[in-house]
Symmetry: C4
Subunit: 220 residues, 4 copies
């Protein structure tokens, strides 16, 4: 969180953050094309696969560079455990969106958003991007499974929305092991999203209470 | 939020708020009649349609007047994005109910409700009005779809309640694209409603804690 | 809330609270017997019905006495709207359990529970009693309906638990109008219960934070 | 909570906490083996049963020793009601994980985790361990029941996740009395888990707000 911008690691991270975020969006797009367009002509499929693998290699290279610049060994893996998870499962990279926000912020001189707006923006963006990744992966695992109820990508998106908001109709639901494993991760995200919305609202109300108490004349 | 009542824009808004809210309720009613009474005699159907379109034109006129009075161009659209959304989807106009409250409040001299009561009232009113709009739209999209489980307006209301409270039984659920799109919006409302209730309760508890701490004698 | 114990109304309420709570539990019990034991011998059924009606008459009498003692007219109905609701739907009387707590508290000299324990106790007791009333009513409406999934009282209790915690499996769900109307009320209770648990937890955490901040030495 | 480490009871608890936690994990494991491997050779089944019973006897012995050392009679049962529940239902022992944390903490000199990290860690660990116990018990009750939808242990785990996050798809759900009773307990855990996540988030946001207010220069 508190990055030292004078160190080589800090300078690398400040420079690499935005290109890497673009790369992770491209990764998501190339995965989406492969999953959603199975009838694509073979040469284009190969291009997609190549792009996916090349981007993954890029993520590995960035991780290694940062590991080297940090001058540490296992300690780096422990303190950067989220980066390690994200390296193994690149579809989760959008959770780093908060760092991108910081990188953008440093370049401009505009005042930062209020904590509130930041929490809501971050929770919203993360929910949208992770939801899209999750819907893709679940669709990939489920659409050809016997007895599946998630048969189109639309079903997967619908199921994702009902899961992330913890509504959970159950009219469509994953039936394979891999699909259910991804689903459990998304339920966790839904719980966190609910916590973010509720906590944020609660904090805003308490702040407004406190401000009203101050504004009120003491004699009133 | 902080309207300048001396400016032409502020005066217009203060005067137009209540009639426009009445117009939006009438809009909802005329839409409801068209959706719920398909067997209505053709002339009455035409009257309903005419009322709906006339009210929409009224909303457009109000938006244009305010845009003109503001003396701005695209900036107005950005700062009034909620008004723009509400212009395109007039069924969402009831979310402006909080402004109506302010307009009413300014005319009376009664002390305002506590923040708590206001949040609960606003959340409750918005939930009821948006829930009714949503149930109407979903029923409109679903009732004739093949394989639909939402076949009567009662089913739509029942489904709306289970969605807004995030219970989500799933015994009835939308199956069409349009219906599911509306449903996703309503899940978002449900999440916000849950946040409002929870946050409000939490803020009230914390305030009560603080007050009890003050009332307690320091030696106790 | 702030009852004046010197006034005739205050003295009446202080004395009548506990017997009326016992009466409302008895009301619940006699309703339960009628609903759950349809094969009861006719004389016993009549006794149950008589007890139910007599208790209802008692509640009406209490309401009228309080209305008279208050010396007001419509104002009493407005400020005591919860009492009015509870008069029309006596199965909801258990929500008055918080007043019983106060009545008991006044007689003892023991220190009151912390706000936390009180909120949790109140939310828990209300959830149990309202849940039981709701399960009874829903079972009463549903068990003989065509296509019903709630066929035994056990099903009704199971459905109640999944509704009050907002889990909402939907394996059993009401299908009649009356059953769904009661269900909507119970979803609202579930939302409030969730708000109470979450808000209470949040308030406790914030209080503990504040205390730890105070205990920590300033140099630390 | 506030254990006196000088008393015989305090010393016993400090020493016995970690071995007892290991024993409760072993209890869970031996129960899991018996439930999940019904085709185990009879001698191994007997070993499992013997281990289970021996560990239960150990828990009873620990309870009796602590009851004796406390020098009290029924008062001990009342103030240690959670221990009493956990004695009767040893699968719930993992809820004592917070005490294990304290016992470990006392031995090290490292600074304690922040309240936040502790709440999240405790909620997460409890959810995982109780969820596993619950999934085992529900699977045990359900897998051979007529009309059951929970037929494999995987189904039970999937159902557990959807229950603890209050999503509740309902594609699989318990149908026996015992299974539903356990399910109700798990819904309660889910509600508490939701409260912990939300409350924790809310408390963190409020703390961060307060800190930002302090850091901001007063003229700003």
């Amino acid at each position: 969180m508190h990055v030292d911008h004078g160190s080589p690691l800090g300078r690398w991270e400040a420079r690499a953050e935005l290109p890497l975020f673009a790369a992770s969006l491209l990764f998501l797009a190339s995965y989406a094309v492969r999953v959603l367009a199975p009838g694509l002509a073979p040469p284009w499929r190969d291009v997609c696969l190549a792009v996916t693998l090349a981007l993954w290699a890029l993520f590995v290279a960035d991780y290694l560079v940062r590991w080297r610049l940090s001058g540490r060994r296992l300690g780096f893996v422990r303190t950067h455990w989220l980066d390690t998870v994200v390296l193994v499962l690149p579809l989760l990279r959008p959770v780093r969106v908060v760092r991108v926000y910081w990188a953008v912020q440093r370049r401009r001189d505009r005042p930062r958003l209020t904590l509130h707006a930041r929490v809501i923006t971050y929770a919203g963006l993360t929910a949208v991007l992770l939801g899209f990744s999750g819907a893709l992966s679940v669709y990939h695992q489920e659409h050809a499974a016997p007895g599946a109820t998630i048969r189109t990508f639309g079903d997967a998106l619908w199921w994702t929305c009902s899961t992330l908001t913890t509504v959970g109709y159950g009219d469509v639901a994953p039936v394979t092991w891999a699909g259910r494993l991804i689903a459990v991760g998304m339920m966790g995200c839904g719980l966190a999203l609910l916590g973010a919305v509720t906590g944020s609202f609660s904090a805003w109300l308490i702040q407004t209470f406190a401000r009203e108490d101050e504004e009120r004349p003491p004699a009133g």
